[in-house]
């Protein structure tokens, strides 16, 4: 009759069995746990404050791109103060497996985040228009909206070459965005041989545009170029029309946003044009139509170029992941070296993180609040 092993042997046998089981567990289970930790892309955008309209679009575009993917994400409001963005960034990168951050499009916040991104080695994906963010020498900034170098060139060229402006005036914002754009606009106009005859910078809180517009009128300007945020842009147009100032108005990117156009009556918009990276609601081809429809279903509002640019930027991160990138370093390398065909345009880094090199001009014909694309400026920097 078989007997049980003797007592001294049983513990030794059990020890062997347990060791074998533990080794098997370690080989198979721990890697599974490590693989179960998702990759993360925090979305930090200004949902409240004076840039809330644009920031909400940015956040929506990122969210739409990330939804349904394997990437874990959460949306955090950075409001308007740089320190809020810094706190949000530090909290966000505290989690494991952060491969990139969708960073706020507010210029002052981006400028505060760039050193942190370099310290943590995390790529920032943004649609901020402030020129300086890609002039700091950081390898971690990737801008998916044409910078001032591109859009202000388009704005200036359209005003001079297409609308025949010879005495342009510029109204800009006193914010970092406004100052950087104004400088580019002025440089482009001078380069075209048409220096501005009048310029003024306006605080974001200014409501009555009459003082500035009276001075534009008195300067004899034959075109008005704007580099303002959404609300002030619409205010200038409304007050200019009330004043009877009938010169062409070529506005900045804020004017392409459907919410900005909705503030004005169609006849107030007649003859108003604007530069932008794109205008999703104006395009007809299938890819854009699908994006527009999905955006409308998800958010019950019209998408703008900021949403589309951020959507394309996040899609490029997803392309990097699909190509095998699993760390922030690998994602950064992909963004620095690869070309990506998005819905708005083709993106490629110029070595400084400027990914978008094309712009469009949209114009309103006065019959409704939907603009048409009247001019495209492709590959203005020659990078593609």
């Amino acid at each position: 009759m078989p007997t049980l092993p003797s007592l001294p042997l049983l513990p030794k046998l059990l020890r062997h069995i347990l060791a074998l089981a533990a080794g098997t567990f370690a080989v198979f289970v721990f890697p599974l746990n490590a693989q179960a930790e998702p990759l993360r892309v925090p979305v930090l955008v200004p949902i409240t404050g004076f840039l809330s309209l644009e920031g909400t679009s940015q956040g929506n575009g990122a969210e739409l791109a990330l939804s349904g993917s394997e990437i874990d994400f959460s949306v955090t409001d950075t409001a308007t103060a740089p320190e809020i963005a810094i706190n949000a960034f530090e909290r966000a990168v505290d989690a494991a497996n952060v491969i990139a951050v969708v960073a706020p499009m507010l210029g002052t916040q981006m400028l505060a985040l760039v050193p942190l991104a370099d310290e943590f080695g995390i790529p920032l994906i943004t649609v901020s228009g402030t020129a300086k963010i890609t002039e700091l020498g950081s390898p971690n900034v990737f801008r998916f909206f044409p910078g001032d170098v591109v859009v202000k060139a388009a704005q200036a060229r359209y005003a001079v070459e297409e609308r025949g402006a010879k005495r342009p005036a510029i109204l800009s914002q006193t914010t970092a965005y406004g100052q950087s754009g104004r400088a580019e606009l002025e440089a482009n106009l001078i380069g075209l041989g048409v220096p501005p005859v009048f310029q003024e910078a306006l605080d974001i809180s200014v409501k009555d545009m009459l003082p500035a517009l009276l001075k534009v009128q008195q300067s004899g300007a034959d075109a008005l170029l704007l580099h303002l945020h959404a609300g002030p842009t619409a205010l200038v147009i409304r007050h200019a029309r009330a004043l009877g100032l009938d010169i062409p108005i070529i506005a900045g990117s804020a004017m392409h946003q459907p919410e900005t156009a909705a503030l004005l009556e169609p006849d107030e918009l007649n003859g108003v044009c604007a530069e932008s990276g794109s205008s999703p609601v104006s395009e007809d081809w299938l890819g854009i139509r699908n994006f527009v429809d999905a955006y409308r279903r998800a958010y019950d509002r019209e998408p703008d170029a900021f949403a589309l640019g951020q959507y394309d930027g996040v899609k490029m991160i997803l392309a990097a992941v699909e190509a095998g990138a699993r760390t922030a370093d690998q994602v950064r390398t992909y963004l620095q070296t690869e070309r990506h065909t998005g819905l708005a345009m083709t993106y490629k880094s110029d070595g400084k993180g400027n990914m978008a090199h094309s712009a469009v001009i949209i114009c309103y014909d006065g019959t409704d609040q939907a603009p048409q694309v009247v001019k495209r400026y492709d590959n203005l920097t020659g990078v593609l």
Binding site: T48, F50, P211, A234, L235, A242, A262
Partner: protein
């Protein structure tokens, strides 16, 4: 011509600011503390106009000033809520406590409006139609004229209330000496709550007046409370007449000085003027010398 345009625009903007400042002073006089949610009262009035506008038939051009009664009622109720939440529970605490509670309530209102209406600026219907009329060679906006007329009517109505009615006498008694007023049988809490309602209603009316010509967005409250505060500092702490004068001065800087020079310079000079008032005549243009400044 340009001077007429500038003057009328300054008068219109000043009239709207005066409504904000007067509402601010009404609450200040009743509570001796600053209501930092007052700017959000203006914003709430603007959005009330936006919301009520859906009942106006589109394309028929019914004037937006018809929304005024609804806006006044809605923001008066909001004022009662602000008073009940941010003042009554802590009315025996130091005034700085009211700062904090009204700031908190203001943030709640701003974020509530953001969540309800979205972050984008919104516009209300024009008060009496769009366009302008020619006057002495100047192009005068109908909106500006309507703002001046409506604000003038409201301020006149308030003046009559304060000077000619028993309620008005009670308001003035409470503002001058709350303890004596209480000793004479005036119900201080009732007057305080009416002040919150009336003050916020005035703010709401300003929101309606500003919402078409200047748009309204949830984040505007901070700037508006600052303008009200400056108007009251310049005009005199607790003085309704001073608040009106201070508001007009702000508008003169924002429109007149900005036209002469530039907007950034106009804003800088406005704050220089504030400092000068504080140094030379700290009680303000129409204030009493012995005031407790909260």
């Amino acid at each position: 011509m340009i001077l007429i345009q500038i003057a009328l625009n300054a008068l219109a903007l000043g009239a709207a600011y005066a409504l904000v400042a007067i509402g601010f002073v009404l609450v200040l006089n009743a509570t001796t503390a600053v209501n930092f949610a007052h700017g959000e009262g203006v914003v709430a009035g603007g959005f009330a106009a936006v919301a009520l506008a859906v009942i106006l038939p589109p394309g028929i051009g019914i004037p937006g000033f018809l929304l005024l009664p609804g806006v006044l009622v809605a923001t008066a109720i909001l004022g009662l809520l602000i008073g009940a939440l941010a003042y009554l529970p802590i009315r025996n605490r130091p005034p700085v406590t009211v700062f904090v509670t009204t700031i908190a309530v203001g943030i709640i209102i701003a974020n509530g409006l953001n969540a309800t209406f979205g972050a984008a600026p919104r516009t209300a219907p024009p008060l009496i139609g769009v366009g302008s009329i020619e006057f002495l060679g100047a192009s005068i906006s109908r909106q500006s004229l309507a703002i001046i007329a409506i604000a003038g009517a409201l301020i006149t109505g308030l003046a009559l209330l304060l000077q000619r009615t028993q309620l008005g006498r009670q308001f003035r008694a409470c503002a001058q000496d709350p303890e004596m007023a209480r000793a004479l049988g005036i119900r201080l809490t009732r007057i305080t709550m009416i002040s919150f309602a009336l003050g916020t209603a005035f703010a709401g009316a300003a929101g309606l007046l500003l919402a078409h010509q200047f748009f309204i967005s949830p984040s505007d409250g901070g700037i508006l409370i600052l303008k009200a505060y400056i108007a009251v500092v310049i005009g005199g702490w607790g003085s309704l007449r001073g608040a009106t004068a201070g508001a007009m001065l702000i508008a003169i800087f924002e429109v007149g000085v900005a036209t002469l020079w530039s907007q950034p310079l106009a804003e800088g000079l406005l704050y220089v003027a504030v400092l000068l008032v504080l140094f030379v005549r700290p009680q303000g243009m129409f204030g009493e010398p012995q005031q407790v400044r909260a």
